[in-house]
């Protein structure tokens, strides 16, 4: 069962060929079999899942049809789910039970999805490898000596290993797309403002966006259609009609203009990686796409810009974790000392580093030189994209410069920050952007093929067109589900 797509599971449950409870049991059996080796989940929500699955089955028995009937769902542990611990993979939220459910999660549950558990992430979504989690280690299912990517590493690994049919991630500068590329699944970040952030514990509010992680583009479209739209609880959601993306999926790319970014030349990549992307571009062409070269002259400033804006917002967003009202509290002799002791013990190094950078960037005397200039750069990057999209419908580029790397390979923070080189500019511009599997490379000395992801990005609110194009590519190439994950048998036997 576990490798069926969400659309297939929902069809089977609605048709009463199987039940939500049976599907749930199979999913938990798969988790029991594999998650010891993978470490995708921080916590399972068995009681809640069972109750939801029973309700789905009851509804189906009453003749209701639910778009995600019985679909096993993994939720990144920076999204609130009422009555369950929500940790952001940080010690500072130790013991905190969310008293409400995030809007995006609720919308999927209302559609019949069954929440299996909460998945690992880089602490507060800050990282590109999942190594910054304070609570657990997640391995890449393709090669367990390698990282799954991050920050949504747990959700992505769960889908890749067949431990969930569908998952939710959050993307601030690439946190859905980069791990999706590393694990060979589809990861989609909608336009900023399309999906409610209510109940998503903020890292950088102007960039954070929840999106689906799935085995297929069709599943991503299905989940997106259910989550998207104005939420009265999130003032930054856009009140604009959502054209159903699942109805716009296509099988060819005739008449589609694909933009290739001049500044993102493939010559910087390793030869095997480069060959894979050249093949991906060829495949797009074979499906009927026309190619145009577009310029993003300011894209090179993306990483620097991002690492001012995101830390600035995070320094303020994370202030509330002070030991006064919830989570960890380390008592000091007075209030100030309690704040310091709590935050010193509760936050990991990367979180502290970003809080310090952000505090500095917002400080009087530095604000204009850093925060204000970064905002200006952001505006220029968005303008570059707007200009590029005058000539093309979608921009294609690598989702990451390399396949998944080994644990501890990026000890230097800046080399880790550069992992998001291809994803950050789209985040700064608020664009819808996704990663779809586009091939595999096998590193020298390894017998384990590693997936690569093709990043496709579209103009603001052009989700329907974007998912349609990605679907045609997926259908035309078959990369998404072409290979069994070779380590899985090994993972089972490793138990």
């Amino acid at each position: 069962m576990a490798d069926r797509s969400a659309a297939e599971v929902a069809r089977a449950v609605n048709a009463r060929e199987t039940s939500a409870v049976e599907t749930l049991e199979a999913a938990y059996a798969r988790i029991a079999e594999r998650d010891g080796a993978i470490g995708a989940y921080l916590a399972l929500t068995q009681d809640l899942a069972r109750a939801r699955a029973e309700r789905v089955d009851a509804a189906v028995r009453e003749g209701k049809r639910l778009p995600l009937a019985g679909v096993p769902l993994a939720v990144k542990d920076n999204m609130c789910l009422e009555g369950t611990p929500t940790t952001c993979a940080s010690k500072i939220l130790d013991g905190w039970i969310a008293p409400y459910t995030a809007t995006a999660v609720q919308r999927l549950i209302d559609a019949g999805a069954v929440p299996l558990g909460k998945t690992n992430l880089d602490e507060f979504a800050m990282g590109s490898s999942c190594e910054n989690s304070a609570l657990g280690k997640t391995a890449n299912p393709w090669d367990r000596s390698r990282v799954p990517g991050g920050s949504s590493g747990g959700s992505v690994a769960a889908v890749a290993a067949g431990e969930a049919t569908l998952a939710l991630g959050s993307d601030t500068g690439g946190s859905i797309r980069e791990p999706a590329a590393f694990c060979g699944v589809v990861g989609f970040k909608p336009t900023y403002g399309r999906v409610s952030r209510y109940g998503l514990i903020a890292f950088a509010s102007s960039l954070d966006q929840i999106g689906p992680i799935a085995q297929t583009v069709e599943d991503a479209a299905l989940a997106y259609d259910l989550m998207a739209g104005k939420d009265p609880l999130d003032a930054t959601t856009v009140d604009r009609e959502v054209e159903p993306a699942a109805a716009g999926l296509r099988d060819d790319l005739r008449g589609v203009r694909v933009g290739i970014v001049k500044e993102f030349g493939l010559d910087k990549l390793e030869p095997d990686v480069r060959a894979c992307y050249e093949q991906a571009y060829d495949d797009l062409r074979k499906l009927g796409a026309e190619f145009v070269e577009v310029g993003l002259p300011t894209a090179d400033y993306g990483v620097a810009t991002y690492y001012l804006i995101a830390p600035a917002e995070c320094s303020s967003n994370l202030a509330r974790f002070d030991g006064m009202r919830y989570g960890l509290r380390v008592e000091g002799p007075d209030v100030g000392a309690t704040y310091e002791a709590t935050r010193a013990a509760g936050f990991g190094d990367e979180v502290k580093r970003r809080i310090l950078i952000g505090t500095y960037a917002l400080s009087s005397g530095y604000y204009d030189a850093y925060y204000v200039r970064a905002q200006k750069a952001r505006t220029l990057i968005a303008a570059d994209f707007a200009k590029a999209f005058e000539a093309c419908d979608v921009i294609a580029c690598p989702a990451a410069a390399s396949p998944a790397f080994a644990f501890n390979a990026k000890a230097d923070p800046v080399s880790m920050y550069l992992m998001d080189y291809y994803t950050i500019p789209m985040s700064l511009a608020g664009l819808p952007s996704l990663s779809v599997p586009c091939g595999y490379v096998t590193p020298a000395g390894s017998d384990k093929p590693l997936p690569l992801g093709l990043e496709l990005s579209a103009p603001l609110f052009a989700e329907r067109a974007l998912l349609g194009i990605a679907h045609a590519y997926e259908r035309g190439t078959g990369h998404a589900r072409a290979k069994q994950i070779p380590t899985l048998a090994d993972a089972v036997s490793a138990r």
Partner: protein, 510 residues
């Protein structure tokens, strides 16, 4: 009477203030005032919780106003519009775009450890507050801006003897107030005297109450103000070093704190010292200010635009709609009363500040054409009855028409003041027309000389001893004799006429 309620006790009673003769110093006082005013909305600024004073602690709270992880603010448009009305009432400009910013600092009663406020793009800019001084002259103070922010929770410190943080063993926080919409009105440094400071605050309060913007109750914390005060030698154009005074809980304490701070700064300057820029707290019991924090300890609030909120937009048509909804403002009423109707400033203030008194007054005076006589009844007998019966004048039996009739009857000397007083008390309960009652019951004043003479003769005959006393030089008994005439006439005699006739008869050579 509560210490506020506009009941600022005027200069003569400010006995606790230090003994300094401000007028005799060579320094000009320069003040600007920042007021925080809680807006009277149904719900809080960024969530659906009730905005209500006095509930059990931590009952009007939700994930949003508690700043729980993942919760997001959504602005309350009603609060934004109330603030804009307040600004429009003082002629402020309403920019087309405004935005919210975060003011970052750690404090246990601040749920998110930042406060959503407005830094460089407030909802309204400029404006001018006019006020009247007791002597009938007019003053004004320019507004810099009015912006919107969210209130914090309220800490109480336990385990210390005096409820202060020093020596307390633990603190309790009530978040009911967290997220309540608060507008901050910042004035220019235009205020030059303690009296003007209070008149300015009263003008703000009067307008906010009239617009329904706020209850402006200092004792419930719905108005809090900080005074920035500096001195400079008369004639100097640069400002002196200022201090900021906080923690006043009534208009009276604002006045006392200002007086105390003027005295403190004066004595520093006169002894050749320098005023230190700092924040000082007002201690009501000690009647003095004390240092709270200096400029060096000032926070760097790291303001930046709140990414959870989109800019607030106002189209010219929105502004026009809100301006239209303002109606007549209290300052226009005061101007009419003081300039057109020639009332004293204090009387004009009482009429404008009383519940429904201005409309009542305007109706009654409009009919009678006699403003001063109308006010005398309104602020005299009618206000006394209103207090005694806890009923506003407008819902008593005395309609504006009845009052106007009464004013007419008194003015024409048809009835004397005692009859008028009795009639008011009676009509207050029963209603009815004073003219009709006077006619039906023959309550008209006895002004006929012949009729009065007859009564006078009767009284003189019946009080021979008193008549002798008078004639022996004890002229103070005249009051008694007039009283006897009144009594014998059933209260209807014209007292002036009665006294004149009595005097004529008694002083006549025999």
């Amino acid at each position: 009477m509560s210490p506020m309620d506009g009941a600022y006790t005027r200069a003569s009673t400010m006995d606790a203030a230090p003994r300094v003769t401000v007028a005799a110093t060579a320094y000009e006082v320069v003040m600007g005032i920042e007021c925080h005013v809680e807006l009277k909305t149904q719900t809080k600024m960024f969530c659906g919780c009730l905005n209500a004073f006095g509930a059990e602690p931590n009952t009007n709270v939700c994930p949003i106003c508690l700043g729980l992880p993942g919760a997001l603010p959504v602005p309350n448009r009603a609060a934004i519009e109330l603030l804009v009305k307040a600004g429009l009432a003082f002629g402020a400009e309403v920019p087309a775009f405004s935005k919210f910013d975060r003011k970052n600092y750690f404090y246990p009663d601040m749920p998110k450890d930042y406060q959503i406020s407005q830094y460089d793009m407030p909802l309204t800019v400029g404006g001018i507050v006019h006020f009247w001084r007791d002597d009938g002259s007019r003053g004004s103070c320019r507004l810099t801006r009015i912006h919107l922010e969210e209130d914090t929770g309220k800490s109480s410190h336990a385990g210390s003897r005096d409820g202060r943080i020093a020596g307390s063993t633990y603190s309790l926080v009530d978040f009911n107030r967290a997220g309540v919409p608060l507008m901050e009105c910042v004035s220019e440094p235009d205020i030059r005297s303690r009296e003007d400071a209070v008149a300015y605050l009263e003008a703000l309060k009067r307008t906010f109450v009239a617009l329904g913007v706020s209850d402006v109750k200092m004792e419930e914390g719905s108005l809090r103000c900080d005074v920035n005060l500096s001195l400079r030698p008369y004639g100097q154009t640069e400002y002196g070093t200022k201090t900021e005074i906080k923690n006043m809980n009534s208009f009276n304490s604002v006045a006392r704190a200002i007086e105390s701070e003027i005295a403190r700064q004066t004595s520093i300057l006169e002894s050749g010292g320098r005023v230190v820029q700092e924040t000082r707290g007002w201690d009501e019991a000690a009647g003095a200010t004390h240092p709270m924090r200096s400029k060096e300890q000032a926070h760097d609030y790291r303001y930046f635009p709140d990414p959870d909120l989109t800019p607030v937009e106002f189209a010219p048509s929105d502004v026009a709609r809100l301006r239209q909804a303002l109606g007549a403002l209290p300052d226009a009423h005061l101007e009419r009363l003081i300039v057109m109707d020639k009332l004293r400033v204090e009387q004009a203030r009482q009429i404008v500040d009383g519940p429904g008194l201005f409309e009542y007054y305007a109706a009654a005076a409009g009919i009678s054409g006699k403003p001063q006589a109308t006010v005398n009844f309104l602020l005299g007998d009618l206000s006394r009855l209103a207090n005694e019966t806890d009923t506003p004048v407008f819902s008593s039996g005395v309609t504006p028409e009845a009052l106007a009739e009464l004013v007419g009857l008194s003015d024409a000397q048809t009835i004397n003041s005692k009859t008028a007083k009795d009639l008011i008390a009676r009509i207050w309960v029963e209603g009815g027309s004073p003219g009709a009652i006077v006619a039906a019951e023959g309550l008209g004043q006895l002004s006929d000389a012949g009729a009065i003479d007859a009564v006078v003769s009767e009284v003189l005959a019946g009080n021979a001893k008193t008549v002798d006393d008078y004639r022996a030089g004890k002229t103070k008994v005249m009051g008694f004799l007039v009283g006897q005439v009144m009594k014998a006439s059933g209260g209807k005699a014209n007292p002036t006429l009665a006294e004149a006739r009595l005097r004529e008869r008694l002083d006549a050579p025999r």
